[in-house]
């Protein structure tokens, strides 16, 4: 009998594959249907935002960094603003911190809804996408309400917020918070005990806690593998230490546990949002009282010469940030986010570097993919929740 000829096959996946969440390219070596090796290629979306930011004044950097991780714009701008405020030595008023917490948590819900919809759809549960995007629309409406812009509100600024909350903000957020818990139950009915979904996700894409930490995957991936680390608990910012919430932790480190962790995170986010909403008075301070950074209120600009000059200077020349460097981590939807800001004492950042949890997750892909089946590659990519804008920046 003639000997069977066997060889591995090289398959190119992406960069235009719909399940790679953008433009991730994987070169897979296959032995039958088993993945032998994987070579991720990134950089297709590299737009040089960090280089561009070096030519912009500090306040102008906010819209730029929001476009990096385009599903969590608030946590990008929050990370940048906190670092710059650290250099400036600014302490935010209580109300500003609470609003920032509320927005960051709404952003987490928003991002997790997109993740859940696309992840489920890629595994064959197409209907869930329609439901999650329906609820996400309500969260985008909140962004539109506060800033007139749905994806990139640029509402969090260095020194506080862009302006005060609009009328009707509390009611619309409260409506969403009342609606969402029931909706999350519905999503769970569709997936959590769905036999097909469980078979596709349990024991798939396993990464150990130690390995996840070594690859720097602090966030939902490490928590799915049993590492109870959350920036909001370990290094609280914006007064997170005053909020009641739990950090969900998985045990097995597979796709299913990462799913459970994110679902529970959504519930905890709603809990935090409720507490924050209660604390925020409808009217009050929305920026720090510091003329170096925040322009005078409009009624003074229109009536007083000094205020007009100050306003003009702030918008034409920006403000000076003392020489130094700062990195303040925040817990984004994909893990630890944060912006390393270096100042040379001028009005433009000398260097900014956004920590990119998605890029590190792409680096660790081979840990989760190699040895598994080719169909599971899609499940793993969905479960690490990468945003290519954040990977390539």
């Amino acid at each position: 009998m003639a000997e069977l000829r066997t060889e591995t096959m090289t398959v190119n996946m992406g960069p235009q594959h719909p399940s790679t969440h953008g433009v991730l390219r994987l070169v897979l070596q296959l032995d039958g249907e088993t993945v032998v090796s994987v070579q991720p290629t990134i950089g297709y979306l590299h737009t040089g935002i960090e280089k561009t930011a070096e030519e912009k004044k500090y306040q102008q950097v906010i819209p730029l960094v929001e476009r990096m991780d385009y599903l969590s714009s608030h946590s990008n701008s929050l990370g940048f603003a906190l670092s710059v405020e650290k250099l400036l030595g600014l302490e935010m008023p209580r109300r500003v911190q609470d609003i920032r917490v509320l927005l960051a948590e709404l952003q987490r819900l928003n991002s997790h809804l997109v993740w859940l919809g696309t992840h489920g759809m890629e595994l064959g549960a197409v209907s869930i996408m329609l439901y999650t995007f329906r609820e996400r629309e309500l969260l985008l409406d909140v962004n539109e309400l506060i800033a007139g812009f749905r994806m990139f509100p640029s509402y969090i600024r260095v020194g506080g917020l862009r302006e005060d909350l609009p009328p009707g903000f509390h009611e619309s957020v409260a409506r969403i918070l009342d609606l969402l818990p029931g909706k999350i139950e519905e999503y769970e009915d569709l997936l959590t005990h769905n036999e097909i979904f469980r078979k596709r996700t349990r024991g798939v894409g396993v990464i150990s806690g130690a390995s996840a930490l070594s690859y720097g995957l602090v966030g939902p991936i490490a928590r799915g593998a049993g590492v109870p680390y959350d920036v909001r608990k370990a290094f609280p910012y914006c007064g997170y230490e005053t909020y009641q919430f739990d950090v969900p932790v998985g045990t097995r480190g597979d796709v299913y546990d990462r799913y459970l962790v994110r679902i529970e995170e959504m519930r905890q986010s709603i809990r935090i949002c409720r507490q924050a909403l209660e604390r925020i008075p409808p009217k009050g301070e929305w920026a720090v009282d510091d003329p170096r950074v925040v322009p005078p209120p409009k009624d003074r600009v229109y009536t007083e010469m000094e205020a007009l000059i100050l306003h003009f200077l702030l918008y034409s020349q920006g403000f000076l940030v003392p020489r130094g460097e700062a990195y303040v981590p925040v817990e984004g939807p994909r893990g630890e986010h944060g912006c390393y800001v270096v100042s040379d004492g001028g009005n433009r950042p000398w260097r900014i570097k956004m920590r990119s949890p998605s890029m590190l997750a792409c680096q660790a892909l081979h840990e989760m993919i190699v040895g598994g089946m080719i169909a599971d590659v899609i499940a793993v990519i969905g479960s690490i929740d990468v945003v290519m804008g954040d990977v390539d920046r």
Binding site: L87, E325, Y327, G346, K353, A364, D392
Partner: protein, 191 residues
Amino acid sequence: MDAAAFIAAISAALPGAGLEDGQGVDQPTLVVPRDRLVEVCEALRDQPALRFDVLADMTAVDWWPREPRYTVVYHLLSTVNRLRLRLEVALDGADAHVPTVRRTWASAGWLEREVWDLFGIVFDGHGDLRRLLMPEDWEGHPLRKDYPVQISMKPKVYAPLQVTEEEFHSQIEKDRTVRGGTGLERGRERS
């Protein structure tokens, strides 16, 4: 723990490591000599009181035309002991290479590739220094401060970015004079 406590803890295991306090405003910062970097990193990772198990981020800063030109920056995190620490290594422009910490933390693999790609700093012993974000055939290292950013060239047939040496230097001069100094100083100059 502040920077002095970190220096004391590491010096106990590594006498004469030559660490200095980097005076960080946000977190303790240590300046590490290049030839002791790997030892210091391993001590930071393995000592039970420290246990820096995550290399959260690393990057570089170009201080051109000042020397030492580059600072390589490592952000460390201990999830067990809830500590943060920043390490800095200063490098001369003519001698921009630093040992890799890839064997200490796996996350350094791509982070070092990115720094090499964008700054041209070589990581000795890395073994896989390829372009990460820029295309493979790209010339130059874009995040260097002397990299020409705003050269306006007429569109022509596809060719790699090419400028003459004169164009390059005059553009850098222009960039520096526009960017140099603070906004307020420049405003005064203009008026």
